[in-house]
Amino acid sequence: MKQVLDEQLAISEVQPICAHCGDVCNDVRITADDLVFCCSGCQSVYEILQTNNLCDYYSFDHKAGVSMKGAMTDEYAVLDDPDIERQFVEFDSGTTRRLRFEIPAMHCASCVWLLEQLDRLNTGVLRSEVDLMRKLVRIDIDPRRTTARAVAALIASLGYRPLIRPEGAAGSSVAMRSIYVRLGVAGFAAGNVMMFSIARYVAGPDGMMPSLRLVFDVLSILLSIPVLVFSASSWWRSAWGALRQRRLNLDVPVALGILVLFVRSVVDILMGTSEGFLDSFTGLVFFLLIGRLFQQKAFDAVSFDRTYRSFFPLSVRVSKGEHEESVRVDNVHVGDTIVIRNGEVIPCDAMLVSSGGYIDYSFVTGESVPVECVEGRIVYAGGRVVGGRLRMTVTKAVSNGYLASLWNNADASVRRTSLLDLADSFGAWFTIGAVGIAGIGGLLWLPDISMALTALSAVLIIACPCALTLAAPATLGTAMGLLGRRGIFVKNVGVLLDIAKTNAMVFDKTGTLTESEHSLSWVGPEIGNELRGSISAVAMQSTHPVSRSVERLFGASLQTVTDVEEHVGAGIRGIVNGRVIAIGSASFAGSRNAYVEVAASVAVDGRPIGSFRIVPQLRDGIDTLVGALRRDHDVYLVSGDSSRDALAFEPVFGAARMRFNASPHDKIDVLEQLARQGRHTVMIGDGLNDAGAMRAAHVGIAVTEGTATLVPACDVIMGGETLQDMANLIAYARNLRSLIWFSLVFSMVYNVIGVALAITGTLSPVTVAIMMPLSSLIVTAVSVVGARWYGRRSQWVS
């Protein structure tokens, strides 16, 4: 541990690195015990670990700690509500209560180690166990000695904020266990039945004693029955469900194929005409289950549902007379006075009863410049409070809020993905075709009933589209895992086929094409360092986001400011080195240049000297990306923000394809219009305000910074830095689609040739017995290797 810290210190000579989280300390720096910390949060975690002799934490991973910048810890009061606590309790025996928390921040061996030492920090904790892949921790507590709230606050204070979200903890291991069990049974049966079959094939028709043959037949049938009834049950259920709704999905011909295979084999064995194909039957179910396993594994590894954090608060502080009380949001009524603090999200529409601070609506409207808070103003659900603590009177209960209406719109329709479409339409044609051909084949033989039945069942067995049910999940599941490692999270395998089809693309601006934090540039005559410092010193007195950007632009300053007065909605004024410095709106600073792009004007001793202008921070490589996409897509920019950045985007998109001041409903209209023109659309956005549009598009892609944002209704989540890979993603998806078609055509040709040869008697039964599972093996190998190969061949940027 000492060694790691020494190394960090060595680096810190040049560039200070936080001893806790390993981030580079830019502006703020706290030094203690010869160590450097980026913020007081990181320092306090280090101190907790040090006092409890837990500094081994730093020896397992260089960047072990989770940065504590901007962390809040007292949001776990909701866990005192038994109804909410119950969602996190796995079982409760009175003396032991097992809690389960999802912790998105855990990432390395150090995290596992520390989270399994919780009993050393809180005596009420009996034991804790981490599941790193699912980002879960299970904590057994003694409810008489500690509470869920205390434990949640403890792990949050270490930097591991547990996820508190209304719908309860998702993601269970039950699906995986069920597949393992079915796979185990099918594999067991397949292995044993194959032994009997090979013995019979090798011995030939008369090479085996009838008594032994009887034992083999009976055992084969007995072993196959659990496979039919148990291992293959999901196909029966799916096919039966589809038939009952008078639909045909891909599981119908699969179910039909394996059922015919089983029945015909059993009939053949009982009649003594042949040895049947029970080896093929059990092997087939085994391989089909392997396809399911691929799908589930990819889904678990990507853990789509677990990568985003709750956006909507669960509880809110309601002011009751003298004191404040934490109340669940559904129990907040019109007329209640609620208190929202810095960084929190407003849960419902309300009217302000206090001033000070700002509200950032960028999640809801895409507008990046925050709104001032003035008493009497109506504020809307979804706004985030910046700098200040606001009291407000609720005007609409939660479910009627603007945010809730967007949310409900977004979730109203259940989307069908392409894989289902493909599988369903394919399944319908396939079933009709196969049954038709089988019927005709049977009719042709008709006077000879046994030959007719043979032909009928042979065609149904060949036509079983197992390759598709195996190839699609194996290919797409492998690809999903690969993309997840690159920071592109795909909701389910079908989305990749949707992406392959797209030809129109709509971008949102704020947070998608630009970084979410805006930066400023100074417009006006050059000013000296001393004056810069004075301006920065005044700006540092304010919590307005523009002031924070001024501080970043000019650097932190230690000059003393006196007589500070902040006028809400106007600006801030202060005296530094005997000069009166005013920063604020044009009228406040006495400037005449009142353009939209001016964020703030500056005056010294009442004389305007210049202004700050907002510079859109375009992400790197946006122009090359859009250029590449425009080769086979129509690319549009639709933004809820004002048109002040229009000039910056015009060379990239072209004036005709840009639209500003668009409300969320305008965005939905744009996408629906494109869809009506027969385009296959992608919506790329970041915030909640795009949720409806993402739902209206064929594919919704959310761009996030880290994993901190909740993105409902999207199909793909990309990190901001992976956005440049968009063109690669589309090319990759197209390659995957070709790969699936190749597997499909290959297995059809293989099966037709194989069965034709078998029927004409050219091949020995032993060869056929080997060839049948071989085709499934080849399809799986082609799918997995192909998906990896294409993934490696793409020139990924990140």
Binding site: R98, Y180, N192
Partner: protein
């Protein structure tokens, strides 16, 4: 050939035992988390006053007492 029949039935019985062991392990949650144990084995054992046996017992994670 009677001995063949006997051997075949014996082998099926023995391998059924392995199958049952596999099913039991799956249902107990042994295959739920394949990633964390590989990390956990790297940590030093704790030498504290509390009884060692208690935290060495691997609990199943499926809440069987429910």
């Amino acid at each position: 050939m009677g001995v063949m029949t006997l051997l075949v039935i014996c082998s099926i019985v023995v391998s059924s035992g392995f199958l049952l062991a596999f099913l039991w392990a799956t249902r107990r949650g042994q295959y739920d988390d394949m990633a964390t144990p590989s990390i956990r084995m790297l940590f030093e054992d704790r030498h504290t006053d509390e009884s060692e046996t208690e935290h060495d017992v691997r609990h199943s994670s499926d809440g069987t007492k429910q």
